[in-house]
Amino acid sequence: MSLAILSKPAFRDFVARLLADYRVAGPVAHNGSFIFDEIRDPSELHMDYPTTLLPPKKFLLPIREVLFRFKRQDGGVLQAPPETPPTVLLGVHTCDLHAIQLLDTVFSSGHYDIHYVNRRKKTLIVSIECLGPCDEHSFCKSMGTLTADEGYDLHLTDLGDQYAVDVGTQAGKELLEKYASAKPADKEDVQRLNAVISAKWPRFSYRLDFDVSELPSVLELGMKSPLWEELGQRCLACAACTNVCPTCFCFDVKDEVELNLVDGQRVRQWDSCQLDEFATVAGGHNFRASRALRQRHRFMRKGKYILDAHKHLGCVGCGRCARACIVDITPVGVFNELYRQQQAGS
């Protein structure tokens, strides 16, 4: 929409003012790493963080949430849970931004998920451009997520002593007008921004050995690869890979009751296709009983099934699963190996 400039002190003031009216969350330091968390003071923010343990998804699809409360008598009186406060999510990287766009599609099409959509409507996103790779596990450049031209309300680029602020939505424009003392960008600012952006691209490398547009067919051709069996032997079915993934959205729903055995609540919490119990249906049959089949399913979803169903790739190249896996099962490794096998076989 338009470009504004916010000096670093003005950005701190902006956040301080937001705190009066919004729940504000952003990247903060945690045990020598970083997590997205609610902040109480702008000084807690680390806007130059490399990556976080869990993605910002947890503010839109909480790890565990109460869907409603009920009574096991009188026809089961229902009560909605407390509403989420209006929230500003600061410092979202573009890989995670692409993941949120996928979640928006998933939860608003087909079965319209009122819980997600309500929370999403109350959330404003202030994202930030990565100027260097977060670490050796990321492959956003290969996945086309190293930048974004939509999905944010405001998008920041660090120009050293100031941020360039790209206004993405009307809501973002209003937020900036109401809470920040920004100035419109002049010609010099635009030149500086362009220089910073063109300097960043060479810092990232392509890590897939083929173009991402080929990924769905690489997977399709790889359905019968012996690789899956090998992964199944190594995989611990620990679900670290899916729990840290910004695009995974599977959940489990269950009822919990109080000790009076009358009052209760229905909760949902993140689930994982990598766990043994996930594909077990009533009667005890598990239609993906082997770890090999579950690994195949996971990568098929990331690179093909989700794209087919929702028009967004199911992997944004954030590298979190690769960082988390104790036995070094990584998307880059898997995708490249399938491609290598196909090149060797053809």
Partner: protein, 254 residues
């Protein structure tokens, strides 16, 4: 059922440190309303009265002597539901470590020259002696899980004990993985439900809750070996709480 319609429950202890019963007392302090839902008729840790007409028996501790067997069988006779309370009852836990050494040596080490005054044999989980309906794992048990199990039993449902690894709870807590810190951890093969309390406070998981039902044993052994552990070290860490299970499995394989 008592006259007031509340199920009667009783607690029993065998060879254990009584830490699980103390955790039950803690849960009662957090959830005094539990006493509106059940009537406790026997609980040596907490009261002196003794009733024998219980429906649900919670048994703490391993079976470590011949004379334990008759007592266990009598409890099984009376109770409709028997629940193993904690690692000693559920797995035999650390008590089973003594079976790694000749019994006489162990008895002399513990009881000195009075060693033959005290009867003892290899420690076993109570399930080796009587049928057990459910187990609440852990050393000690998790207080919230204890309450969740009681609720499930009152509703006539299967207790919600997870069958996925500790890593699930650990990652969702945004802990830094012990392996990232250059340490080893049994979380990937251990049954969750404790909230990954050990890694959360900086210690490795030692599998006090026992293994999940389908652990990838070969892969975790490779992981431990790659981390530089010797075979002996791997066996030591692997059998801290699961000596009985690992031995049984080896015996089955012959």
């Amino acid at each position: 059922m008592s006259a007031n319609g509340k199920p009667k429950i009783a607690f029993f202890d065998f060879t254990s440190c009584e830490g699980c019963q103390l955790t039950v007392i803690d849960s009662l302090q957090d959830h005094p309303e539990l006493l509106n839902a059940v009537e406790i008729v026997q609980f040596r840790e907490a009261m002196s009265e003794k009733g024998e007409d219980y429906q649900i028996a919670f048994i703490e501790g391993s079976c470590t002597r011949q004379s334990d067997e008759a007592r266990l069988k009598a409890i099984r006779e009376q109770a409709d539901i028997v629940v193993a309370l904690g690692a000693c009852a559920h797995l035999a836990g650390v008590n089973a470590l003594k079976s790694l050494h000749p019994l006489e040596e162990v008895r002399k080490y513990v009881y000195g020259d009075k060693w033959d005054w005290y009867e003892t044999y290899d420690a076993r989980p109570i399930e080796a002696v009587i049928p057990v309906d459910f187990a609440i794992p852990g050393c000690p048990i998790d207080r919230n899980e204890f309450i969740a199990v009681v609720k499930a039993l009152l509703l006539g449902k299967k207790p919600p004990i997870p069958d996925y690894p500790v890593c699930v709870e650990c990652r969702l807590k945004e802990n830094i993985c012990m392996y990232t810190k250059g340490k080893v951890c049994l979380g990937p093969v251990t049954r969750a439900g404790c909230g990954a309390i050990c890694p959360t406070y900086g210690s490795s998981c030692e599998a006090c809750r026992g293994f999940i039902s389908n652990p990838n044993q070969d892969s975790i052994k490779d992981v431990l070996a790659e981390a530089g552990l010797s075979v002996e070290e791997i066996i030591n860490i692997y059998t801290m709480f699961t000596t009985y299970q690992v031995r049984e499995k080896l015996l089955q394989k012959g």
